[in-house]
């Protein structure tokens, strides 16, 4: 299996969980806080990495910690070999309207 933190897809959407603020005991690193601050609205993993200017691999590890602490949620993008026709049609409509 992939190493720690590899389970976040590039276009998975992450968002801060609406719970209480993280307890000081979690001892979040500045990078954790930086990521958390950007997740106040839903954002993809790849946009997040670009905004905080850290390599994807690092962002995945940070996200892995934050989800384990329950302060960030991950909403997985459609995956796998079979892509739904509904999604394909939605993208086609979008492109045609450009």
């Amino acid at each position: 299996m992939p190493a720690l933190g590899r389970n976040f897809g590039l276009i998975d959407v992450v968002v801060a969980a609406g719970g209480p603020p993280p307890s000081p005991e979690l001892r979040l690193a500045p990078e954790h806080r930086q990521v958390l601050a950007r997740c106040q609205r839903p954002m993809t993993v790849v946009d997040l990495a670009s905004e905080v200017d850290l390599p994807i691999g690092v962002v995945r590890v940070l996200l892995s910690d934050l989800t384990e602490y329950g302060i960030v949620e991950v909403l997985t993008a459609p995956r796998g070999r079979v892509i739904s026709r509904r999604l394909l049609n939605a993208v086609l409509d979008g492109l045609e309207e450009l």
């Binding site: 897809g9 590039l10 276009i11 998975d12 959407v13 968002v15 801060a16 609406g18 106040q40 609205r41 839903p42 993809t44 790849v46 946009d47 990495a49 670009s50 390599p55 994807i56 691999g57 690092v58 909403l75 993008a77 459609p78 995956r79 796998g80 070999r81 079979v82 892509i83 026709r85 999604l87 394909l88 049609n89 939605a90 993208v91 086609l92 409509d93 979008g94 492109l95 045609e96 309207e97 450009l98």
Partner: protein
């Protein structure tokens, strides 16, 4: 309690891969259509050194990170399409799997001066059954090939669309992306009817 912006719509996200050899125009294509200039993020490599897939990076010899270019098109507040440039050289294979997993399909951008540079990505998409089309980038001064010649040179299946494309032009790129999604829809219809054990209804 702070005013949490948890009411923002959660977008559905989709991705399309832009593949092609070194310098084929992938970043140009992404930049021609996405709402943001192509962004760059880095993938860290643990145990090997590779060059960066960028003409300006040729002098960099080796590095432990590889740049990944991407762009985004937001259609509605709840649907965003991402375009990812996929480095064409086979030594980047370790990124291909991740980039192509869950992708709607791929545009293989072919540079007629170096057609051989897209063999590896064509093979990859064929092998994994990822819908793709070949867009022949019409560079100024590049030899003009008939799409039929490119099809023969790349030994493409007759069902794979081949079209001419100017990666600098938004309308041309839009046509290529629409062609790809239509191709993916056609294939998905075929797969569904195969799964159902007979021809599609209607």
């Amino acid at each position: 309690m702070d005013s949490k912006n948890s009411e923002s719509p959660v977008p559905t996200t989709a991705k399309i891969i832009i593949a092609g050899g070194f310098g084929a125009g992938k970043t140009t294509l992404v930049g021609a259509i996405t709402e943001i200039r192509p962004l760059r993020t880095e993938e860290t490599l643990s145990d090997r050194s590779v060059g960066v897939d960028d003409v300006s990076g040729v002098d960099n010899k080796t590095t432990t990170t590889v740049a990944m270019d991407f762009g985004r098109i937001t259609f509605r507040s709840d649907l965003a399409l991402y375009l990812f440039g996929m480095p064409g050289q086979e030594r980047f294979w370790f990124m291909w799997e991740e980039l192509s997993f869950g992708a709607l399909g791929a545009v293989v951008l072919a540079d007629t001066r170096r057609l051989a540079s897209c063999f590896a990505s064509v093979d990859y998409f064929e092998h994994y059954g990822i819908p793709f089309l070949v867009a022949v980038n019409c560079f100024d001064g590049a030899p003009r090939y008939d799409p039929a010649d490119v099809r023969i040179a790349l030994d493409l299946d007759p069902s794979v669309p081949v079209l001419m494309c100017d990666a600098r032009r938004r309308d041309s790129v839009k046509t290529a992306l629409i062609g790809l999604v239509r191709h993916a829809l056609t294939r998905s219809g075929v797969q569904e009817s195969e799964l159902a054990g007979g021809p599609a209804l209607g």
